[in-house]
Symmetry: C2
Subunit: 197 residues, 2 copies
């Protein structure tokens, strides 16, 4: 049997129809979502804009997110996974609107039968959730339409672990998980450390 | 002085305004252009379509190219750098129309002040032609809108040689020049060997 194809979109612009999509926004949306579920939220509703999030405000909902890296004044939380872990679960659902990650998730949901959320916190869970033999499209959320190194790094980790038939873009991402001057030496951290808290 | 930024577009969709663009289509347009100039053509006219190329037919012009990997029946040459080297210079200008490379060059010419043509045959010439201190946008032509490994490999070689301030996409490409399972082991050749002649 031919192994399933694994492809990578370096930005959401490249999203196309797929059976399974794994969306990655390490800094920060998908890390925040993983943290929210770990904190006890039964669900996280991803929005393409802060306006959509506001429209979904309801009893039991907690609004979180950012717009252009700034906290939204009328939202209960920012988009920090650390802040979310400290705050703990405060409602029945987290409504999340961020600049890059949550719109990428919404876009992927229009193109893929199943959308998974990937980050460094949940790689094993993602791998366990991918149906055996299914082709996978990994979507890097990037930053304002450009590839983000930390997303490509996680994409590369997934490409290697999935072990399917990698498309060229997946092979490019796979090389990026190699530690030569990358995450292993903390260069991502230097550049975006202020966004991490 | 801050070093100049070096960025990489994995596909022509990502092209944006730039001072200097280096367009890469290893298989085959930019390799064919380098070969044409080496064969003695004074100039190569790049077209966004075979119809544009036909409109430019004139005494002294030689039409070359492909459409969906097939030779164009009324063109004098295909898009093979080897065939072009064998045929030698047969006119005053080569008019080139291919599926990915020549449209990417045309697109880059609308966005950049200066467009250079890069491939494995002319890396030193490209490096010598980049103005000192200029930010560079490297454009991978890709294949039908998706990244092509051989283009990203050459982009990575340029990123490393240029030594500027690499954007995240440039750092991703830089990792791809690492020989782990890439061009050095001939995997590109296995996949597209039939396109190489």
């Amino acid at each position: 049997m031919r192994p399933p194809e694994v492809d990578v979109c370096f930005t959401p612009e490249e999203i196309r129809p797929a059976q399974v999509a794994v969306v990655i926004d390490v800094l920060r949306a998908t890390s925040t979502i993983a943290q929210a579920l770990a904190a006890g939220y039964p669900r996280v509703v991803c929005c393409s804009s802060v306006w959509t999030a506001r429209a979904l405000r309801a009893p039991g909902s907690v609004l979180a997110g950012e717009i252009d890296c700034l906290r939204v004044p009328d939202f209960e939380l920012g988009n920090s996974p650390v802040d979310l872990a400290v705050a703990g679960c405060r409602g029945e659902e987290l409504v999340l609107a961020t600049t890059n990650g949550s719109p990428a998730i919404v876009a992927a949901s229009h193109a893929a039968d199943r959308v998974l959320i990937g980050c460094l916190l949940n790689l094993r869970a993602v791998l366990a959730a991918v149906p055996v033999g299914a082709p996978v499209m990994i979507v890097c959320s990037g930053t304002n339409g450009r590839p983000a190194l930390e997303d490509v790094y996680v994409a590369g980790r997934l490409v290697a672990a999935l072990g399917g038939l990698p498309a060229d873009a997946a092979r490019v991402a796979d090389a990026r998980r190699c530690p030569r001057g990358c995450v292993g030496r903390g260069r991502v951290g230097r550049r975006r450390r202020q966004q991490l808290s």
